[in-house]
């Protein structure tokens, strides 16, 4: 059976909508493409050296 407190702790307050232009920065998270790009760069550099 679920634990009330545990489940309740999972909920976080939500944010309101801001009409003001919110300068959203680019997503700085790393996706698999970024990882692959980094790997390929390293491979190329290794190959050159």
């Amino acid at each position: 059976m679920i634990d009330f407190e545990e489940e309740l702790a999972k909920f976080r307050p939500s944010e309101e909508i801001s009409k003001e232009r919110d300068e959203v920065e680019n997503d700085k998270s790393t996706d698999l493409s970024d990882i692959l790009t980094e790997l390929l760069k390293q491979i190329n550099e290794a190959a050159k050296s």
């Binding site: 309101e16 919110d22 997503d27 996706d31 698999l32 390929l40």
Partner: protein, 491 residues
């Protein structure tokens, strides 16, 4: 596609022509990202919002620069009641692609609707307050009330359903919890939290050994919040189909049942109206015919009156002319009478000739006319001669000559001829005088005036009068002997 290292366009294959980098793995990653996107799209269409969000987030983990994934994820978040998360995804999408990006419309539509924004923010504030009330204060009852308000404000806020169900479970209001969780699953069929709670409820019921049906009874539904149903597209289509069928049925009934009735009533009204108008038209036509007849009659009367007027006019003109003529004749008669009284016999004949005996029926007029006429026919020439001689004796030869000529107009007269000739002599006109004397010689040889005329003629011509006498006598004799011979040798 461009090379990840040197950004050169890869025209053929996955090997970069410049740096030789193999992009086949990158392509597979992209394909996997697209596959997750497609799966997320299918789940979203099936109303599995949680599953769709999970697939789309996985797609972003493979390729965070995918604009369609972010747009769809934003829509899913919006449908789940997380408008702030939706707005965030759309703004990231707009950063990746500014032109022709639906995210721009989503953002504008969301932010331009001020009421919706305020309502959402209000619901979020209340949710946060309810969460705080439950988490920090432990006031579950108050939390329930607040969460009900939140759900009323924002029926799509799934977190509110989940928290409310959790509180209901904690307060052992299982039926309400079930109802709330079912409403949550109608919004999001694949909501893991709701399904987990429902499973927990089943277990609890089994544990508590209560055979309470999953659907709440009527009593327990008394204060269950029934949020606004969020229906799927299929139900809308079905409803639209039912509506169309209903409209078609209504139209059919209207067309076949009501329209004929209306038409017949209309036609009957029209017939009545048409008949009424036809009657009126017939009456008016009769009136027109009567008026036409009257008009013709009046025209005839006018014609008669015109003719009468013309006749009267002509009669008047005739009478007027007759009257005028009568007046003229009276004037002429007066003139004649005036000439007669003053013995002006030269003009009296001409003046009398213009007088009409029938000009007037007056007795006096007729008497005057008769007197003048008688005198002119009997004593007229005598009177003329008397006056001619008078004027001759008074040496008014011109007037005397006029009188003598007036006498001669009535016929040849030797006396008038001779003295007319003498007047010409006195007036110094021997030519005209000779004509007069010659006329006596031709016509009045046997008169006394013949001798005197020959004397005068001889004087004028310078010829012996006796010779002239002999010649004229001879001619006279010849004419007497041979009346057919009109030609004479004049000396």
């Amino acid at each position: 596609m461009k090379c990840l290292i040197c950004n050169v366009s890869l025209k053929d294959g996955y090997i970069c022509p410049k740096c030789g980098t193999d992009h086949s793995l990158y392509v597979k990653i992209q394909e996997a990202a697209n596959a997750y996107y497609n799966r997320g799209l299918a789940k979203a269409r099936a109303r599995d919002l949680s599953g769709a969000a999970e697939c789309l987030r996985t797609s972003l983990q493979l390729n965070k620069r995918s604009v369609p994934v972010r747009n769809l994820l934003g829509l899913v978040y919006y449908e789940m009641g997380d408008a702030d998360l939706a707005l965030k995804e759309w703004r990231l999408s707009r950063l990746l692609k500014f032109r022709n990006n639906p995210a721009e419309h989503y953002i504008r539509d969301l932010l331009e609707d001020t009421d919706e924004v305020n309502s959402y923010n209000n619901s979020i504030q209340k949710f946060n307050l309810a969460l705080q009330t439950i988490q920090e204060d432990g006031n579950l009852d108050m939390g329930i009330i607040q969460l009900k308000k939140v759900i009323n404000l924002n029926p799509r806020l799934l977190k509110a359903y989940q928290v409310l169900a959790l509180v209901y479970i904690q307060t052992q209001q299982y039926a309400k919890a079930v109802a709330v969780l079912n409403r949550c699953l109608e919004v999001d069929r694949g909501n893991i939290c709701a399904r987990a709670y429902l499973n927990d409820l089943k277990i609890r019921r089994l544990v508590e050994n209560k055979k309470v049906p999953l659907k709440a009874g009527e009593k327990e539904r008394a204060d269950v919040i029934i949020p606004t149903k969020v229906r799927d597209v299929g139900s809308y289509l079905l409803n639209a189909f039912y509506i169309l069928v209903g409209v078609a049925l209504a139209l059919g009934i209207f067309w076949y049942a009501i329209v004929p009735q209306i038409r017949s009533e209309y036609e009957s009204v029209n017939h009545y109206t048409a008949d009424a108008y036809e009657g009126k038209i017939a009456d008016l036509n009769q009136e027109v015919a009567d008026l036409t007849d009257q008009l013709e009659e009046l025209n005839g009367t006018i014609g008669d009156m015109q003719r009468s007027a013309e006749d009267a006019e002509s009669t008047y003109q005739r009478h007027a002319s007759d009257s005028e003529q009568e007046l003229v004749n009276y004037d002429r008669m007066l003139e004649v009478m005036s000439l007669y009284i003053t013995h002006d016999y030269l003009d009296i004949e001409d003046a009398f000739a213009e007088v009409s005996r029938r000009a007037s029926s007056a007795e006096a007029y007729r008497d005057a006319y008769k007197v003048v006429q008688d005198n002119l026919s009997t004593d007229f020439t005598t009177d003329l001669l008397v006056w001619a001689n008078y004027y001759r004796d008074t040496q008014d030869y011109a007037t005397a000559l006029a009188y003598y000529n007036a006498i001669l107009e009535h016929g040849e007269d030797p006396n008038a001829l001779y003295w007319a000739g003498m007047c010409h002599v006195y007036m110094g006109d021997p030519t005209l005088a000779a004509q007069c004397f010659e006329s006596i010689g031709e016509n009045f040889v046997e008169t006394d005036f013949f001798e005197m005329a020959m004397e005068q003629l001889g004087a004028i011509r310078g010829t012996n009068p006796d010779v002239l006498k002999a010649q004229y006598r001879q001619q006279w004799q010849e004419r007497q002997n041979n009346p057919e011979n009109e030609e004479e040798n004049t000396p």
